[in-house]
């Protein structure tokens, strides 16, 4: 019987097979750190008198706490500043490469790795951040870890792990215009649930996946964790090789050839068997938005807020009722009628150049709805520079959006970019949990296209809604 991609990667990184129920010891090719989940790990090393085993396989960047305005001034929030300073001091003490605020390679850790060419196929990648699954888009085994594990990787460059189960997610057919990778993953999570992927590595396959760009694949793998999975992956192909080639840390010459020869073997064998398989038809996918307080509570934009009384499962019924109350919604209300206070375009899910281009194309020549603010936050300083070279910053600014510096920003309430209580957002980020974007804030997860159209109309909208001339009031004004 053949093996799956995940099993091949596991076998290629096996340092020591676990005996008598002990976990396997797996080698880690790349360890990324940020300021939030690393300080206690470095402290642990210090207390035990240990060193970082492989500083040359480790990289750090500042993203969660960093402000997106006034980045040339000291961070105003003292606890945030202390945390960032702690990372800088730890990087200096242990000899780790760091990209600090203001550096051209600073940005969200999951945008920085691929952009530098440090993420490539066939690797194991970890970071103290659950969205590390992003890097699985290259055909790598990439997953988030806790701080104890961060310390473990710093000290040993390995992790003791029990093998994951494997799940194939087949996305067949062709994605309709106006639907994106974000809609695919939101639909997958709504289908299998926030716990559906627990214990699994997901492998996204099928025609619709193969046609996606690398950045769109990253959006899909990024949210694997939102289905409960540790990791998600997509087998590498020409699209992947093309994306990696020429990046600063990509192999060159004979090493490139050797790497590509190996990468071509990284596919699931035809006769391999997954523990579970799920199939979706991309052709059926409309723009998807969430209405509730977990990423599984999503529906097509054309739907209405569900009625908890009609939900059979007692647990889900209660969860839906709690969510509707928190979100300030009424059962039966059309999602398209929801007025949005803030549109957030950014995050490790949708903060890459293609996301900015897609949104800019929608808003170009249109005017922002007067009561809606729009925050555009590039995923990294380089994405920001690239966007400025392409003139996208001007498009956003003329539209009335705020053009910010790189960071996690409004994806999570750790920096100054936050929602106020009861403020409603359409956000291209990954989590709609209670209070995620600020205490009492109400989050609807959307694609960059829906975010852009929503900023034009002021209510949850897709680009198709803009075709109606009536809604183009003010266009070009």
């Amino acid at each position: 019987m053949g093996t799956t991609l995940a099993e091949k990667l596991w076998a290629d990184h096996l340092v020591r097979k676990g005996e008598d129920g002990a976990p396997d010891l797996i080698y880690i090719d790349l360890h990324m750190c940020h300021e939030v989940t690393s300080p206690q790990a470095f402290e642990g090393l210090r207390l035990a008198g240990r060193q970082v085993r492989r500083p040359d396989l480790t990289i750090a960047t500042e993203d969660h706490n960093t402000p997106t305005l006034d980045i040339d001034k000291p961070i105003a929030d003292l606890t945030s500043r202390t945390q960032v300073d702690t990372l800088r001091n730890n990087a200096k003490e242990f000899g780790i490469r760091i990209h600090s605020l203001g550096d051209a390679d600073q940005g969200i850790v999951h945008v920085v790795g691929p952009q530098l060419g440090l993420t490539m196929p066939g690797m194991t990648v970890v970071c103290g951040d659950s969205h590390t699954s992003t890097h699985g888009a290259f055909g790598s085994l990439a997953f988030g870890i806790g701080t104890s594990e961060v310390e473990h990787v710093l000290a040993t460059q390995t992790l003791p792990l029990k093998p994951f189960k494997t799940m194939a997610i087949n996305v067949e057919g062709e994605l309709p215009e106006g639907s994106t990778a974000k809609d695919i993953i939101l639909a997958i999570i709504a289908k299998i649930g926030t716990g559906g992927g627990q214990g699994y590595v997901l492998e996204y396959r099928g025609e619709a996946i193969r046609k996606l760009s690398m950045e769109a694949r990253m959006t899909i793998c990024n949210m694997s964790i939102e289905a409960g999975a540790r990791a998600g992956m997509i087998a590498p192909d020409e699209t992947t090789f093309e994306y990696v080639k020429g990046r600063p840390h990509a192999p060159e010459g004979a090493e490139w050839d050797a790497a590509v020869d190996y990468w071509r073997t990284l596919t699931t064998d035809d006769d391999a068997v997954f523990d579970t398989e799920v199939t979706l038809n991309a052709a059926d996918l409309e723009p998807f938005v969430t209405w509730g307080t977990n990423p599984g509570q999503g529906l097509p934009l054309s739907a209405t807020v569900p009625n908890p009384a009609e939900i059979a499962d007692a647990d889900e019924r209660e969860a839906a009722a709690n969510a509707i109350k928190y979100m300030g919604l009424t059962p039966g209300q059309p999602l398209r009628d929801l007025a949005i206070d803030t549109v957030f375009l950014g995050s490790c899910t949708n903060g890459r150049i293609e996301d900015l281009r897609a949104a800019a194309e929608i808003i170009q020549g249109r005017t922002k709805a007067p009561n809606t603010r729009m925050l555009v936050v590039p995923g990294s300083a380089r994405v920001r520079l690239q966007a400025e070279q392409e003139g996208l910053d001007k498009v956003f600014i003329e539209f009335g959006a705020e053009w910010r510096n790189a960071g996690c920003s409004m994806c999570l309430g750790m920096n100054p970019d936050q929602l106020k209580p009861e403020e409603r957002s359409a956000s291209t980020s990954n989590r709609n949990f209670e209070g995620r974007q600020g205490k009492g804030g109400r989050t609807h997860l959307v694609s960059p296209l829906v975010a852009a159209a929503t900023a034009v109309r002021g209510t949850l909208s897709s680009p198709a809604d803009l075709a109606d001339a009536d809604v183009l009031v003010g266009a070009g004004a």
């Binding site: 490539m120 000290a155 029990k162 214990g199």
Partner: protein
Amino acid sequence: MEKFTTHTGIGVPLRRSNVDTDQIIPAVYLKRVTRTGFEDALFAAWRGDESFVLNQDEYKAGSVLVAGPDFGTGSSREHAVWALKDYGFKVVLASRFADIFRGNSGKQGLVTGIVSQENIELLWKLLETEPGKQITVSLEDRTATCGELTVPFEIDDYVRWRLMEGLDDIGLTLQNEGDITAFEGTRDAWRPKTLPAKTDEKFVVEAARPAQ
């Protein structure tokens, strides 16, 4: 890590599913650089609500949390485990846990026992009928006992062994350091290194923030 064999303490019924780590500890509390002192941050958003279970006198001193399915979803923050431990929780029982949360708990000596949802409901009823009732959790027998009711729980064999022995993972791994060194000798040359740093020559910009 302290050895764990058995623990008896007040059971706290948390009738909610999908309690994500943002609920266990909101992001604003993650800015600290210490590993302790997170007790005030536990369930911070809900602690303001008088009717929340931990605001009721009978449950305040609880140490065994009985939660709904999919506990600990979302962010990988180990702070969620630290906050539960700092508050005084030794055990969480639920029918399903998120993988990263369960892994983090195992590293920090917080027992996560998987109990069938049917038995969780029975425990909830007992704890709500008689607030302040204690639960005894035996890691040795893999059981939780509340009054007359004893329910079994599942936990990974290896994690259970480590918790009962109070063993530290890094120490265990370094016993096999020779294997790690040997593996490193076989790694392909194309695999990237972060040092020396290479960056994109297309973009040369001055840092907005001067280097320290």
